[in-house]
């Protein structure tokens, strides 16, 4: 940690979920839920920079927006500004369930339960900087209005005092008085990002959530912005949540890192340790795919497959569909059979229906007996990973159906791994290569 003066927790996030309904048809009936954020917990300590990384669509922006109060959580809690003792009390109260203590803590700290005064305090202390400075800066407003708006809304300043405050802010981000009366389109991408940062800093917030602040910029300009952010943090003690998909950037900027996969945290820990010695196979996969300037070609490798549908996250460990180390305990399920079938159109076309008793146990009905027999044979074939085969507890072939039952497993949760590290994997350590 760089500038942590005490151990105040700026945000304590507890089992946070944000689901979006999927609507269909003329009646717009809800047919499912996109589980964009699906059970996330962590603490953000004052003065630190927490990096949030993960593939596209894994829920980083959604998480950032919920934390910034721009979106209401579906369930779970975001708690603002706790002392170390309050944090301990909170976790005790949460374990104990509903009670006097919890109600009291929630009224004062839980972001979606705050009274007007505390809500105001939270909102002005939590600011967000977005990736796309084109759409986040109103093209019809002058820079003076854009940067001055938070000050006006919170009645911090007006008239010439306001202008001077804005000039001060612009100077902090490397711009100046000469830029006051220009429109966003008159600036380069890097300059627009500076304007966004100036706006976010206007109310001197505690926490700044930076969502891919440099992803649209060239490296030379990115370096300017990263230096600027660091300098501002040094001078004013900001807490940063730094969202990015660029591992080189996050390693440079973050004290701690949380790796997200499909709405959940797969691994978190102190930056250097996590980079040098990842525990979760997904963290390793991200690191191997990162084209940095020092590694050799040996380790540079991609990851097969795509991120599964967040409306139907896999059982057990969400990464099991792509994990090269997957074990029989990683959550193999009926959906994995259906996935395999989709790659075999001759068989898939003959599948009539799937009668599920649970995600792990179902009857697959085919048009004829030979197709059913063919599936049974295929389940023993090379296409099926051996750990998946080993997870099958029972297969029986009926007239036109195949009943399959997989070993039932619970969700793989984050567990402590020492040194401030948490990982959600059934393995104790990464299997060594070679």
């Amino acid at each position: 940690m760089t500038a942590a003066t005490d151990q105040r927790t700026v945000l304590a996030v507890r089992d946070l979920k944000k689901h979006f309904p999927i609507k269909d048809g003329a009646l717009q009936r809800v047919v499912g839920q996109v589980r964009a954020v699906d059970g996330v917990s962590f603490d953000l300590l004052r003065g630190e920079t927490l990096g949030l990384v993960g593939e596209s669509g894994c829920g980083k922006t959604t998480l950032g927006r919920v934390l910034a109060g721009l979106e209401k959580p579906t369930s779970g809690g975001v708690y603002f500004d706790l002392s170390e003792q309050q944090r301990t009390e909170l976790d005790q109260a949460l374990r104990a369930g509903q009670g006097e203590d919890l109600a009291q803590l929630e009224a004062a700290h839980r972001v979606d339960r705050l009274d007007a005064t505390n809500w105001r305090r939270f909102r002005r202390n939590t600011q967000m900087v977005f990736q796309d400075s084109f759409s986040s800066l109103n093209p019809r407003h002058l820079v003076s209005d854009i940067v001055g708006r938070p000050l006006r809304v919170y009645k911090e300043a007006s008239g010439s005092a306001l202008t001077e405050r804005v000039v001060g802010l612009l100077e902090q981000v490397g711009l100046g008085r000469q830029h006051l009366y220009r429109y966003p389109h008159q600036f380069s991408g890097g300059q627009r990002q500076r304007i966004s940062i100036a706006r976010a800093l206007a109310l001197d917030p505690e926490l700044v959530i930076l969502d891919e602040p440099t992803s649209a910029l060239d490296v030379s300009v990115q370096a300017q912005i990263l230096n600027l952010l660091h300098e501002l943090q040094q001078n004013r003690g900001f807490t940063f949540l730094f969202i990015t998909h660029d591992l080189s950037v996050v390693r440079h900027m973050a004290d701690r890192i949380a790796v997200m996969y499909l709405g959940r945290i797969a691994e978190s820990g102190e930056t250097t340790g996590l980079f040098d010695d990842p525990i979760h196979p997904y963290t390793e996969a991200l690191l191997r795919a990162n084209p940095d300037l020092t590694g050799d070609d040996e380790g540079f490798r991609g990851l097969e497959g795509t991120v599964p549908d967040p409306a139907r996250p896999p059982q057990g460990c969400r990464f099991h569909t792509r994990c090269e180390y997957a074990t029989p305990d990683c959550g193999w399920e009926i959906d994995d059979v259906v996935l395999q079938l989709e790659d075999t159109p001759a068989l898939f076309d003959k599948l009539v229906g799937v009668e599920r008793r649970s995600p792990f146990d179902a009857d697959l009905e085919f048009v004829d007996a030979s197709a059913a027999a063919a599936l049974e044979t295929a389940l023993h074939g090379d296409e099926v990973p051996s750990s998946m085969k080993a997870a099958i507890e029972q297969v029986s072939v009926g007239a036109q159906t195949v009943s399959i039952k997989f070993r039932e497993v619970n969700e793989v949760l984050l567990t402590p791994r020492g040194n401030d590290r948490l990982a959600a994997c059934v393995l104790d350590a990464l299997p060594s290569r070679d």
């Binding site: 991408g189 030379s220 230096n227 660091h230 040094q234 990162n290 991609g302 795509t306």
Partner: protein, 437 residues
């Protein structure tokens, strides 16, 4: 990195395309934008040439010039040539690779004007030489997608949303491989009979409605479906090469049903379908996740090794180009400022801009807040005066840098455009020892 041995081979390999003094400007309200302003480089057989530089420095315009895809107007073709030397299959080994073809499976096509003895069209090289900037549009069409193929940043936009993958990939074969399709269907492509003529038009997808009716009648119908089947086989094989799981099923899908990585694989399949001599990839992985990006790059490398295609790989991401390219050309404000072996350039950059770019990438050795940022931004390229385009951001700029253009000249095995390496005849030369600020 590629082993040094192959690097040497590639440096000696014959040139597939050479760009000389390419200048493409654009008309704008503020004046003439000198987007590409005197670009020179060669692409050699079987190599990957990386083209890096910041946004707007002219990478895409350079790339698109190869196939004349820059819209004119507003583009203005000011000067230059892109000499392309098409290859043909090596007859000694039938493409398998032998000593005669330096194990590439292909050899230079001979100049049709002089049959290889050397004349003015081929600049005495004896190799077939086409200036891509001036050959007739009809000749260019037969090269596009056939001898030279291109992949773009956004695979979603490059694919037609209304056509199945099968139709889009098959089109390439109909356009460039109609003889092979006819032959596979058991029809002599050189015959001039009416049915063959009709089927040929079918094979090049030029059939009109009436012809389609004729083709659907018994004697021709089976032949027609034989052509379709032959095309399907080729489409499936092309998709399979890009490791798309279950290509026959993917063929019937539409672009919106595929993920970004999948779409880019389809684009690669399309690009490599006709085994081109040159592949131009303009930021092909910029829109993808790193995990998918790494897979696509492995794929391009592997296919390149198999097909011995020369690749121009364009990206703003230096770390990535280091992984991909045998040689790297660094572009700044419409010019090449440094070009040479990738290993050398990334290890010991010579041009101040290249140094700046490499230092700006956050690495493990950087202290936080101490990245070496290049101050300022890319200058406006409207009617620029003669000067080093980098002078405004260069730590070492001397007076001469503001008044004269440094030329791209040899420094060791590389070429660099900077007065530090080539002191001007008059005036004091800049040096790395003296910073301007």
């Amino acid at each position: 990195m590629t082993a040094p041995a192959t690097n040497l081979q590639k440096t000696d390999a014959p040139v597939v395309a050479s760009v000389r003094d390419l200048r493409v400007h654009f008309k704008s309200k503020a004046g003439i934008v000198h987007a590409v302003d005197g670009v020179d480089f060669d692409v050699r057989d079987g190599e990957t040439l990386g083209l890096v530089g910041e946004t707007g420095c002219g990478k895409s315009v350079t790339a698109r010039s190869f196939l004349r895809l820059v819209p004119m107007p507003p583009g203005i073709p000011v000067s230059g040539s892109i000499m392309f030397h098409p290859r043909q299959r090596c007859t000694a080994c039938d493409g398998a690779g032998c000593v005669a073809c330096d194990h590439t499976g292909r050899v230079v096509s001979t100049c049709p004007a002089c049959s290889g003895t050397g004349c003015s069209t081929c600049e005495q090289t004896g190799a077939e030489t086409l200036d891509l900037l001036t050959i007739p549009e009809r000749d260019l069409r037969s090269i596009r997608g056939n001898r030279i193929a291109m992949i773009f940043q956004d695979p979603g936009k490059a694919l037609n949303p209304a056509l199945s993958i099968r139709k889009q990939v098959a089109e390439v074969f109909y356009a460039h491989r109609s003889d092979e399709l006819l032959a596979s269907a058991g029809i002599d492509p050189s015959s001039h009979s009416l049915p063959t003529g009709l089927l040929r038009r079918r094979a090049t997808q030029q059939s009109r409605t009436l012809e389609n009716v004729l083709l659907s009648l018994p004697p021709l119908r089976s032949r027609r479906s034989a052509i379709t089947a032959a095309a399907d086989d080729r489409v499936a094989a092309a998709l399979a090469e890009t490791q798309i799981p279950n290509p026959r099923a993917v063929m019937d899908r539409y672009p919106h049903e595929l993920s970004g990585g999948m779409k880019q694989r389809v684009m690669i399949a399309l690009a490599l379908a006709c085994d081109p001599d040159l592949l131009i990839a303009d930021e092909p992985t910029t829109a993808l996740d790193v995990t998918v990006q790494a897979r696509i790059i492995e794929l391009i490398k592997e296919l390149q090794q198999r097909h011995k295609t020369a690749v121009v790989y364009i990206s703003h991401d230096l770390s990535l180009v280091r992984r991909v390219a045998d040689r790297t050309a660094v572009m700044y404000a419409g010019r090449i400022v440094e070009v040479g072996d990738s290993e050398q350039i990334f290890h010991e950059p010579e041009h101040p801009y290249t140094r700046g770019l490499i230092d700006a990438i956050p690495g493990a050795h950087h202290e936080r807040g101490r990245l070496a940022a290049i101050e300022g931004t890319v200058p406006e390229l409207i009617d620029p005066d003669p000067s080093c385009r980098f002078a405004g951001r260069c730590d070492f700029a001397a007076e001469v840098c503001w008044t004269r253009d440094p030329a791209l000249e040899p420094v060791g095995d590389r070429q660099v455009a900077c007065f530090i390496h080539h002191p001007p005849e008059h005036g004091e030369a800049p040096t790395f020892d003296r910073t301007a600020r």
